[in-house]
């Protein structure tokens, strides 16, 4: 049983149902009987959708081979930051748990070496602590800073 998915830039992808329902979002549509026509995915562009579908297909194919799957996943996630960002958002929107988890792990790995100030800069977070409060918190958690 094949489904048709349409990316934000109007490209149509034909996919096996078994592969597509890795996305909980698509799975709900199928179960609700709304998947007879082309399913529009306005939040995912074709480039990203292609990658996502590749992930889903491999997860069906390699389901029983844990080692091979891990190898695939590690290689898959080595992408440019811009691509990673798009993958993350797509995985969130399409509700593909394992892809979302893997992408989040990758982002965590990129963030872990930074200082709190660098985190704020990168993620555009406002520092809502006063200098005294910030100092207090650093002191409380001093053990994590010590080598």
């Amino acid at each position: 049983m094949a489904l048709e998915l349409k990316s934000s830039d109007n490209k149509i992808f034909e996919v096996e149902e078994l592969v597509a329902v890795q996305s909980e979002t698509i799975k709900s549509l199928v179960e609700d009987g709304c998947a007879d026509n082309v399913i529009p995915l306005p939040n995912v562009d074709s480039k990203t959708l292609e990658l996502v579908l590749d992930w889903c297909k491999n997860h069906v194919d390699m389901k029983l081979d844990e080692e091979k799957l891990k190898e695939y996943e590690d290689k898959f996630i080595e992408v440019d930051q811009a691509v990673l960002y798009d993958l993350l958002l797509a995985a969130n929107y399409l509700n593909i748990k394992d892809l979302l988890n893997r992408a989040c792990q990758k982002v965590a790995d990129m963030l872990k070496g930074k200082t709190p100030e660098q985190i704020r800069e990168t993620l555009n977070i406002v520092n809502d602590f006063s200098p005294e409060e910030e100092e207090e918190i650093r002191k409380e958690n001093l053990w994590a800073f010590e080598e």
Binding site: C104, A108, M110, K114, E140, N141, A144
Partner: protein, 491 residues
């Protein structure tokens, strides 16, 4: 008579401390008064200047009266106290007098290391923890990162990094209280356990070892009582259960956060030594946990965190021989809601099913020449870790329990080269942790070697020395337990 009971209890505590800290025989004896009348009982209890490592910080050195006359002797011997001598009253008053005089040096609470911010922290971007310098994240891309995905990412940071990032903003600082964050954390697969250790030098705060990063951390758990010694005895789901050295009070806490609870008092009158086990009701501490203590007389109680109370679910079956000579140096092992304890006389294991409340006994002969043995488990298999000493050669061995035959089968040994270090020496071993990854603290007179052993892949690894921040001296690891670092485990 109450005084005698208290004295026995004190002796028990002292013996325990000696076992913990000394490579010396663990019996305490004072010379009988008939040998030579002492002008003042306090001459027996004199503090000595600390010797070269390891200094036992807890007790004053006791010199036997005879040895005092032999000044040449450099090493420290222990006076032996024989309570059954009948003249218990004399000894009782000796100890009590010593306690009052202040010559008897009890442990003073130690302050945590002075919290002075290291210089390098003040310089932005030069934090020593910045190992990942290669990856520059482009702000253009990430500045619109949706907030609802923050938690999923933060839950996947290394633990120490999480604590560093608490100062980013208020939201990140309050994640430990967030239910949704808790759920994200629960989804992250569990890695290696960490080890909460008590060092000889500072029994009032733990030193925590992270085997994944091979780093020691020294958080202060301000809620633990610092005027008495508490030792970790069990752990489950990221929580560690502590028991004070007098075996009176239980405390449960998450060593990483400040989540802490003192358990209600037990319904016993005499605080004798107990073995302790801990299990989770479900998959995490949200479902509650249970703690069991059992004593040599077959008495036991179970604490239920959901009810916050102790209950006595019954009696030990008569098939289990009393007194129950429990191996107190071995941690209990928990598999599928059943706790396993080592016993001797007869040698074997007793188990308690925490769900159904059933005790069972298994008679299992111990390997020969075995000392300092403890139980462990890996993937449902029960293991035994211990020292084999034969003809001055000591080796750490690992056995697995053959369930069909109820016999121990040797499955691994510490690499020979490492064992050679202990040739001809008197070695004590403490095993920290009891599941999957174990930390072994091997102590002889002059040295303390730390090793981790991964049961599933049979890997032996050396552990870097534990040094307090801004310190230089290696700390001696006395005891401790493994625990799963869990940010959201609540006591």
């Amino acid at each position: 008579m109450e005084g005698l009971a208290m004295l026995r209890q004190l002796i028990g505590q002292l013996q325990e401390l000696l076992e913990l800290y000394g490579s010396h025989p663990s019996s305490l004896v004072l010379p009988s008064p008939s040998l030579s009348p002492l002008p003042h009982p306090l001459h027996l209890l004199q503090p000595l200047p600390p010797p070269p490592p390891p200094p036992p910080p807890l007790l004053s050195q006791f010199h036997s009266h005879h040895q005092r006359q032999q000044q040449q002797r450099q090493h420290h011997s222990w006076c032996v106290l024989n309570v059954d001598d009948g003249s218990a009253d004399d000894y009782y008053s000796l100890i009590m007098a010593a306690g009052k005089s202040g010559n008897f040096k009890m442990l003073e609470p130690c302050k945590p290391p002075h919290a002075k911010k290291p210089r390098k922290e003040r310089t932005r971007g030069k934090l020593s923890g910045t190992t990942n310098t290669a990856e520059i994240m482009e702000q253009q891309i990430w500045k619109d990162f949706p907030e609802d995905l923050f938690e999923a990412v933060i839950a996947r940071l290394p633990i120490a990094t999480f604590f560093r990032f608490r100062s980013v903003c208020r939201k990140w600082n309050s994640l430990l209280d967030s239910q949704s964050f808790s759920q994200h954390c629960a989804q992250v697969p569990q890695g290696n356990p960490w080890f909460y250790t008590i060092t000889h030098e500072n029994v009032n705060s733990g030193a925590i070892y992270d085997p994944s990063s091979k780093k020691w951390h020294h958080p202060t758990i301000s809620s633990l009582p610092n005027k008495m010694i508490v030792l970790p005895v069990a752990s489950a789901g990221g929580l560690v259960c502590f028991l004070d050295i007098g075996h009176r009070n239980f405390y449960v806490c998450n060593p990483l956060t400040q989540s802490f609870k003192e358990l209600p008092a037990r319904s016993v009158k005499v605080w004798s030594r107990v073995a302790v086990g801990m299990t989770l009701n479900g998959n995490s501490t949200c479902g509650g946990y249970k703690i069991l203590w059992v004593g040599c007389d077959g008495e036991f109680e179970v604490y239920d965190s959901l009810k916050n109370s102790w209950t006595r679910p019954g009696h030990m079956p008569s098939s289990i021989k009393l007194p129950l000579s429990l191996n107190f140096r071995s941690q209990a092992v928990s598999i599928d809601g059943t706790l396993y304890f080592m016993r001797s006389d007869p040698e074997g294991i007793v188990s308690y099913d925490m769900v159904n409340g059933v005790w069972k006994q298994y008679i299992i002969p111990a390997p020969l020449h075995l000392t300092d043995h403890t139980l462990a488990e890996c993937g449902g298999r029960i293991m035994l870790v211990g020292l084999l000493t034969k003809n001055a050669a000591t080796c750490v061995c690992i056995w697995e329990l053959q369930k069909m035959t109820l016999l121990w089968k040797e499955v691994d040994r510490m690499p020979n080269i490492w064992c050679l270090e202990f040739y001809g020496k008197h070695v004590r071993m403490t095993c920290l942790g009891n599941r999957g990854l174990l930390m072994l603290s091997l102590r002889s007179r002059q040295m303390n070697r730390l090793v981790t052993y991964d049961v599933s892949n049979r890997e032996w690894l050396k552990v870097p020395g534990c040094v307090v921040p801004r310190g230089r001296k290696r700390q001696w690891i006395a005891c401790g337990t493994a625990f799963h670092p869990c940010l959201t485990a609540i006591a």
